[in-house]
């Protein structure tokens, strides 16, 4: 890989890819904005819709999630929110945690928390949607 200067077969782009403060290029930046655009619609819809559903107690929430449109909407909201918040929290960790060990541990913890939240949220939605 790192032979004498000028003898590497790798292109300059290939060498820097995966490096930098975050270990990635602008990928996180673009994905963060893609998620943001989706959440611009999903998040307000979820809050208003969930408040309406919650006013009907447990039955109200179940009836709400048994409507396919609502189940898909909530599932999408959970997925996109997890996607968006993982990138955001990664950025915060990368900015403030200098020690590479703790940084790696927190990044891993973030990934686990986000995946756990996503799986739990989707499972709950499907369980109610498919009628317990």
């Amino acid at each position: 890989m790192a032979g004498p200067a000028g003898t590497s077969q790798r292109t300059p782009l290939g060498r820097v890819r995966g490096l930098g403060a975050a270990g990635q290029g602008v990928g996180g930046y673009l994905r963060q904005r893609l998620g943001a655009v989706g959440l611009l619609i999903l998040a307000p819809w979820f809050v208003l819709s969930a408040i309406r559903a919650a006013s009907g107690g447990h039955e109200g929430v179940v009836a709400w999630l048994q409507q396919p449109v609502n189940a898909v909407g909530v599932a999408l909201f959970i997925l996109v929110a997890c996607f968006h918040m993982r990138i955001g929290m990664n950025t915060i960790i990368e900015d403030y945690i200098q020690k590479s060990g703790s940084r790696l541990a927190l990044l891993a913890l973030n990934a686990l928390v986000v995946v756990a939240a996503g799986v739990a949220g989707l499972y709950a939605v499907m369980m109610i949607g498919f009628g317990n």
Binding site: R33, F46, V62, I78, A81, M85, V113, A117, A124, I128
Partner: protein, 133 residues
Amino acid sequence: MSEWTDRRPLSPHLQVWRWHPTMLTSILHRVTGAANYVALLGVVVWLMAAAAGPQAYATVQGLLGHPLVWIVLLGAVLGLSLHIASGVRHLVWDFLNIGWSPRAANLGSWMILGGGVVMTALVALHAFGMGGR
């Protein structure tokens, strides 16, 4: 190893700056993002309780009836509202490439703060109209 050993003076940090609107909204965007992270975990707990059945849901609903929890929920909605308003501004900056002048940026920051509060008030009215949970 991890201790700061560089003896040169550090650059001025948070405490020396006068607070101004763009600084406030910049910091708030990050803080509210972290708050939304926690709030979403709460949403997942709520969904799991609903899936677990009426008894589990009743436990969570009992918590939601507490006035202190209302304040937390209102704070969560305010955090989300501010993050959305500030997020829109970031999208405008990044993709339309407008609003960069100090005047426009300060005005935008005030609009974000006002808009966030108005959005929160609308959600609170909506919740109140629905019977306050």
